[in-house]
Symmetry: C2
Subunit: 345 residues, 2 copies
């Protein structure tokens, strides 16, 4: 495990010179400097960056919670995305997985592949990463910096008391279905980015939702002892709720009119409003949870406490499959999405 | 956390079509099939692949040990390397970090970025990975598969009883310095690959040492309660022993004639033999350890038990810096390496 360019022993293709990069050059000292800023001190980090591996103390009676996500330039983000937004998002999507499990995030590793050493870019990336890391007291405990096409792999580690983790499998017939925040903003933000030149304030808000998602860690922690199941919304409500239904062996009905939409989305979409777009929109990084109906007051209290909308949008049913209604009692099918999305898992 | 191509929401640059990849296509079911083979059942995996994160049980009185390494095509390996060799090496270099800490490897995650879905390639990669994973009872507990330029990031998790981990900082004056196995084979294997057409048996052995390093996990476990310090040899003996010296605040002298060399290296190098090449050769993934002189018999017993050479090559001294001797009492300096390598840390 290294925090500098690894010594490169392969020759550049078609060239006889070996591309050996000296770790001791000022450039690499500089990289180390930036990354060191991210090593928030924590008592449970027995040994952090600087050895062959990190040594960590997991609290007794807790489980270790682990998730990893890779973001590749030109695939998951535009090549010219702001480096601080990328640093933020690379950690945010992983924190969102912790939120979905009800875990408290603790430690991260960062595997960063860079085409070149651009000091300003690295400083910006680290600033974006550090903003979230500091907020959640996440300490960078290791990583690897390599030369190559730009990509970022973050692995997050958290802890959760035994038997309190939220899983996808666990939804029960009669559960209410909730989502945090608002849906569809990030996907619309992407469309805005692709088409607009100068952004209106509403459009900029949507782009921010795409580029700087806020992981719902506090909501996961507050609801983990109440919820029967949870998932984070990365691929869209239908796809992600579908995982809960399949893994729990249940079905559901959704009231589309209840879906929480931001004022900015309603304003920008205007007459173009289409449920298909909202229910299949990815990248929201909100939580979808199922809870027993007896918990409604507690859910409302958590929402107030966190100043975060937590909206009831449907209910879990015994009949397999997912049934959507755009008005009470009026079934809705999306021609764009096809029937497959609604079939029993 | 996903084990299929993540839904891609960015358009291909210069193209208006969105590159959305359906997770339900047979190709992706296939990928999942291969990866599922790597999920060795372990009692401490409470929840493995298939949720937002994995849930793991770290034994009480143990520390969690974490390391991550990325390998990028064209930088750390040739683009046409055999996929099973790549699968082996991606796990091996991480297991080597566990070995250096004296940790027992337990769980791995795999972030794999692929330019395309090539069933045979994936099957071969998984076979190479599985060989080592099964040998060390390592279970794949998560990962992310993305489309992009070929690269592999493996993160390994192990456990070690409290206070038994070997660190770089810990070498004491009077310690013997040992290395496992033989040195310089992998680097010579790389030179062979670059120049030779048809390989002799000796050359093939050296190439195998480059492409399929054997992590010294058993040696790390056997010596962790005796050793004062340890590191794995990824960047070459001088560089890596240098980390031990710097972090321990000590110096050392090395007897070059004691360095363990393979018969194949001696045969292929012939008259070209040069200590500079051996002491700066990377990619060996052997261990370098320091132990009190009182442990010599125990070290010899471990070497016999593991059928692995563990060779005493020098000793830790109070005077900072690294002094090499090619005959007893005759100092050696490498014109190629320059004096910097030998300065006090």
């Amino acid at each position: 495990m290294f925090f500098f360019w690894r010594k490169v022993t392969l020759p550049i293709i078609g060239d006889n010179h070996e591309m050996k990069i000296d770790k001791e050059t000022p450039e690499f000292a500089l990289i180390n400097q930036y990354f060191k800023q991210l090593t928030t001190p924590r008592q449970d980090v027995v040994l952090g960056i600087g050895d062959d591996a990190a040594l960590l103390q997991v609290p007794e009676e807790s489980l270790l919670v682990v998730s990893v996500d890779t973001m590749v330039s030109g695939v998951h983000f535009f090549e010219d995305v702001a480096a601080d937004a990328l640093g933020h998002k690379a950690l945010a999507v992983n924190l969102s997985d912790m939120a979905a499990m009800g875990a408290e995030p603790s430690w991260a590793t960062l595997a960063l592949t860079l085409p070149e050493v651009d000091e300003q870019w690295i400083a910006d990336f680290c600033r974006g990463f550090a903003g979230l890391a500091n907020r959640y007291n996440v300490s960078l405990i290791g990583g690897d910096t390599t030369r190559g096409p730009l990509s970022v792999t973050v692995q997050i580690h958290g802890v959760v008391p035994k038997h309190q983790a939220m899983r996808r499998a666990g939804a029960r017939v009669g559960d209410d279905i909730y989502v945090t925040g608002t849906l569809g903003d990030a996907a619309l933000g992407l469309r805005v980015l692709e088409s607009a030149q100068a952004l209106t304030a509403d459009q900029q808000t949507l782009v921010n939702r795409l580029e700087r998602p806020q992981p719902r860690v506090e909501a996961g922690l507050a609801l983990r002892q109440l919820a029967h199941s949870a998932i984070d919304l990365s691929d869209g409500l239908l796809a992600d709720l579908g995982h809960i239904l399949t893994q729990s062996g249940v079905g559901a009905s959704l009231q589309l009119e209840q879906l929480p939409l931001s004022a900015e989305l309603i304003s920008v979409m205007g007459d173009d409003m289409d449920w298909s777009r909202v229910v299949s929109a990815g990248d929201d990084y909100e939580l979808c949870l199922t809870l027993p109906a007896a918990c409604r007051e507690e859910v409302a209290a958590v929402a107030r406490q966190l100043s975060l909308p937590i909206t009831r949008i449907g209910s879990i049913e015994a009949e397999p499959g997912l049934r959507c209604f755009d008005k009470p009692g009026k079934p809705w099918h999306s021609p764009q999405l096809g029937f497959d999305h609604f079939r029993a898992g």
